[in-house]
């Protein structure tokens, strides 16, 4: 009996420790279901540029059934948790999500042989002059508040430079669809939704660049 009791206790503690807070969950890699309609014989350098990130904080929770004592303890623990673990309460489309997007874009371009080769770079000076330089600039990523179910808005710019030709530029403003307070869509799903829209737009932009005579 004692063993069962300790086993239960340990499993409960492990469960508590293992639960990933919703704000810290990251979307899985994205997939592009369509066929890319171009194949370029040059190598592409995919440059990731970050901009400003506007986050949103989860509102404090208060259980009025606990009585005054309970409310005070709750508030103290809550404040302590927030100062020690800000990431658990801060909803952001940050570096982690952008890295998932950039690696997904790179893998899609590689798998579909859109270019001779694709390399992900973080320094534009690393790009060789004979390569195509594709810049995805996350100018601003914004996560709206709890009342908007942490809807995500991405303001991004795609720039494609090929030798001395004038650069091809497109700006994309995408937002996750479900923004109702009653929505059951998780933050992870919001990330997938908005990133998938951006992936489709970026690939459409690349196709446009190619068909325009790059």
């Amino acid at each position: 009996m004692k063993k069962v009791y300790y086993l239960f206790l340990c499993s409960m503690m492990l469960t508590l420790a293992a639960c990933t807070p919703p704000a810290q969950q990251v979307m899985p890699p994205l997939t592009y279901s369509n066929q890319i309609a171009f194949h370029d014989s040059q190598k592409a350098d995919l440059y990731w540029q970050t901009g400003s990130q506007v986050s949103s904080e989860a509102p404090p929770t208060q259980d009025y059934n606990d009585g005054i004592g309970g409310m005070i303890i709750n508030s103290v623990v809550n404040n302590e948790m927030r100062s020690a673990h800000p990431g658990d309460f801060t909803y952001t489309y940050g570096k982690a999500q952008q890295a998932v997007f950039m690696t997904s874009l790179k893998n899609t371009l590689v798998e579909q042989h859109a270019f001779k080769d694709v390399e992900l770079i973080t320094d534009p000076k690393a790009a060789k002059p004979q390569d195509v330089l594709i810049t995805v600039n996350f100018k601003e990523t914004r996560v709206l508040g709890h009342e908007k179910n942490y809807q995500i808005i991405l303001d991004t710019e795609l720039t494609i430079k090929n030798g001395n030709k004038p650069p091809f530029k497109r700006t994309y403003l995408v937002e996750s669809k479900d923004s109702s307070v009653f929505s059951t869509k998780s933050f992870k799903d919001q990330q997938t939704d908005v990133s998938q829209q951006l992936l489709n737009k970026v690939i459409a932009g690349m196709t446009q660049w190619y068909t325009q005579g790059h």
Binding site: Y5, L9, Q24, A99, T103
Partner: protein
């Protein structure tokens, strides 16, 4: 006697849970290259690599920050 034992066990369990919760609450969150550790653990090696490179590049470009 039996009731007393049950009460002791229950309060011990409650204390253990409260203590572990407090311990979790007081342990400061770790950040790796600007990404909270819990988020970092979910990333693939390729994604971690690009974040490290990007952060390194940022440090070179902005040495004072």
């Amino acid at each position: 006697m039996l009731k007393n034992n049950k009460y002791k066990k229950a309060s011990f369990a409650l204390l253990t849970i409260v203590f572990s919760l407090l311990l979790t609450a007081c342990t400061p969150e770790q950040n790796i290259r600007g990404v909270p550790a819990t988020t970092w653990q979910q990333l693939t090696p390729e994604q971690k690599q690009i974040i490290i490179e990007q952060s390194y590049q940022h440090d070179i470009e902005n040495p004072s920050t």
